[in-house]
Amino acid sequence: GQQVQQSPASLVLQEGENAELQCNFSSTATRLQWFYQRPGGSLVSLLSNPSGTKHTGRLTSTTVTKERRGSLHISSSQITDSGTYLCAMERGGGSAKLIFGEGTKLTVSS
């Protein structure tokens, strides 16, 4: 089954609204990484968070590894935030492999 599940699959917002993206994973993870994938396909690393809460700009990542879940909060969304947000987990145990979810497609309109 799917090891990393993201919800919602898609999200449509008005500019200025906040977004809450969820990531659940089925096995033990040592860290979650969040990526932004542009419509053209390239990936940008947003936040890397083993546990707790991290902020950068308008982004807040929260990871609760014991409960096998994480979230990404985007405040005051902008049109340029539109794209796909990918959650990826690391299992640890000597592995550096990332296991990705299918992503949340965010559309922000004016």
Binding site: G41, A96, K97, L98
Partner: protein, 113 residues
């Protein structure tokens, strides 16, 4: 931020031919990765590489695949021979240390006809 460059951005080849995908990682990074994304599907791990050796590989990393980084130049993924199911976008990534933040390139779209 740190940049990973991938060349070419798009490659079209006939099934059975050999293809080499090139990646110029972040200059001081030591760990290198390839991921594969079929259109509309999730990103999947292929292989990671350090100090001239494959450290981990997935079942997607078939015998026809190989990676190398000769003399600190490009980190390459070679597929020989290619198959139709190899059509995908291949992303290269690098990190400074093991299991740290990955920086991805823009991907090479491979179309096998």
């Amino acid at each position: 931020g740190p940049k990973v460059l991938q060349i070419p951005s798009h490659q079209i080849i006939d099934m059975g031919q050999m293809v080499t995908l090139n990646c110029d990682p972040v200059s001081n990074h030591l760990y290198f990765y390839w991921y594969k994304q079929i259109l509309g599907q999730q990103m999947e791990f292929l292989v990671n590489f350090y100090n001239g050796k494959v450290m981990e590989k997935s079942k997607l990393f078939k015998d026809q695949f190989s990676v190398e980084r000769p003399d600190g130049s490009y980190f390459t993924l070679k597929i020989q021979p290619t198959a139709l199911e190899d059509s995908a976008v291949y992303f290269c990534a690098s990190s400074l240390n093991w299991a740290e933040t990955l920086y991805f390139g823009a991907g090479t779209r491979l179309s096998v006809l």
